[in-house]
């Protein structure tokens, strides 16, 4: 009996902790959401849990207002993110396939090189950034969205190659061999057999790459010099940096900024399920 009470108490306690954590996580999002629908530029004067007035004016201003910079920044962000996504997939898919399926000279050194790059690249931080700036400046390549996309893609290629290679490794070689005997070429095998089976792995790489490029700030800030090339994270920063921040505009912009990420995630979710490779082979 005593133990049962303790168990109940424990359950109440853990539930309470869980609720506190959820509130802590959800509260800022809630504030952002109600701010974006508020006519007031600041929700904190005074703070209203349930706003008395709700308006779509802020969204209208952000999207279509005469002063709005959201749409051109969105276009910039989409150019950079989609381009880096395309470059990443074009580079990562064939190399992951090759690393997973073929033996060639330098295979292991390259793989470990990739691994090492992953470990050190992040740690180079400021020095790397300065070097990058200097190099791009020297070649007159600063302030270019294409270059930014290339930098994002190249930064992610080693990690994503590892990731997808590991996924390819889990696909039984029987498929390749069956296709080979069936008369398929290596390209056929990659495109017609392995890629469809590897959709979950590719979706993961795509989501990582897109989200990485979409939310990156520091490199974009360093190499994009003119306002008209700014991506959305830089725009958000500008909104914050202005002397009198319009919090409702900032909130609406933030939420609009999050939409493509949610869409991307929902789109990829169908494939983010494992187990697609099951069913064709009996073990």
């Amino acid at each position: 009996m005593k133990i049962r009470i303790n168990k109940k108490l424990l359950m109440v306690f853990t539930t309470f902790i869980a609720i506190v954590i959820v509130v802590m996580l959800v509260f800022p999002i809630y504030v952002i959401i109600i701010s974006s629908f508020s006519p007031k530029t600041s929700v904190f004067q005074p703070f209203e849990f349930i706003p008395r007035e709700i308006t779509l004016k802020v969204y209208n201003d952000v999207l279509f207002g005469p002063m709005s910079r959201f749409v051109p920044r969105l276009v910039n962000s989409l150019i950079v993110s989609l381009l880096s996504l395309a470059i990443t997939l074009i580079l990562v898919i064939p190399s992951a396939y090759a690393f997973s399926r073929f033996k060639f000279v330098g295979r292991n050194s390259l793989l470990y090189g990739y691994f090492a790059f992953n470990q050190f690249a992040g740690g180079m931080g400021l020095a790397g950034l300065i070097a990058l700036y200097a190099i791009l400046n020297y070649f007159n390549l600063l302030n270019s969205l294409v270059i930014l996309a290339l930098i994002y893609a190249s930064g992610g290629v080693p990690f994503n190659t590892w990731l997808l290679k590991t996924y390819f490794d889990t696909i039984p070689k029987d498929f390749d061999e069956a296709a080979l005997v069936d008369g398929a070429s290596y390209l056929d095998i990659m495109f017609k057999v392995l890629l469809p089976i590897a959709k979950p792995g590719i979706a993961t790489v795509a989501v990582f790459t897109f989200m990485g490029s979409w939310s990156e700030f520091i490199i974009a800030q360093t190499i994009l010099l003119s306002d008209e090339n700014y991506t959305l994270p830089l725009e958000l920063n500008q909104l914050l940096a202005s002397p009198a921040t319009n919090w409702n505009v900032f909130a609406a912009t933030s939420l609009l900024y999050a939409i493509p990420v949610i869409v991307m995630y929902l789109f990829a979710q169908r494939y983010l399920q494992a187990g697609l490779a099951m069913g064709g082979v009996k073990r």
């Binding site: 039984p172 069956a178 080979l180 005997v181 069936d182 017609k192 469809p196 089976i197 069913g279």
Partner: protein
Amino acid sequence: MTRILLKNLTKRFGNVVAVNNLNLEVKDKEFMVLLGPSGCGKTTVLRCIAGLETQDEGEIYVGDTLVNDLPPKERDVAMVFQSYALYPHMTAYENIAFPLKVKAAAESEIDQRVKRVADLLKITNLLDRKPKQLSGGEAQRVALGRALIREPKAFLMDEPLSNLDAKLRIYMRAELKRLQKDLGITTIYVTHDQVEAMTMADRVALLNQGVLQQIGSPEELYQHPSNLFTAGFIGSPPMNFIDCHLTKEDEKIYLDTGILKLPLEDYLAGIPKGRNIGEEFVLGIRPEDITLEKKEKKDAIQGEVFTLEPLGSEVIVDIKIGETIFKIKENATFRAEVGEKIWLTFRKDKIRIFDKKSGTTLL
């Protein structure tokens, strides 16, 4: 005319010799089974023929073509995998059509041929299904369909029935054998299951540790095993073996097993002259060539019932003599108690004698 010829085929993996100097001819339209325990190299042989492994030495002919350096798709052989390897994202139809699709055959031709093959294999109603919606037997047929559609010169099958349940396996055994005969396509079939080999093969090639032990019809392998390995591998339950040596008693030479002495003159043909007293042999006798008596009998050996394994149509009786267990096939009506005394008689004309060192059959 498609025969498959292997000449001095050798394949190594590092220091391990997987296939050692194999010579094998599979005749046109023949159903050849490569049989052997796990790791004996039988699958490696198949993969070398398919072009999935490159042999280290030797020659492989498919038909009259030397295929040593040809890629798999130019060898014109089809393979059925143990795992079936059906592409999970394609329907049964698309799976079967795949070999023609990659050849860029016309859609109408593909459709016509897929339907013909589906009809032959009785899987027309399954064509819209994905592999995970197929049962083991159905997946097996689709895999066969994918192999058939190309009308290849030869079929290579790697344990295709081993993932099926026992009942379906027995059914598919006959089905596959009949199909092979109807189509008349040269087939090499790999299995570790000697019952499968015996029931399906025109000829069986038995391998052990990469070395060909014997090749012949199932009956030949059963009745005339060329060595100790073949004798022990073929047959279920396997042949009973007893170590023995030559002894001399009253000027007569005997094969002494410890539990039984056989006068050598009865077996002279099998024992080459010049063997010395004390030299060791192995005596073998099949479970069906021993008879059991409940009463003492002249020349019979006494043992005790160790256990009974009823199989329905017959019963396998394990008899313990000294430390050795003998397996004996008896009628289903046979009754005995564990521990009961019993007398064994060997059918002398069925006794086999093997050289202990080399394993070669002497008699």
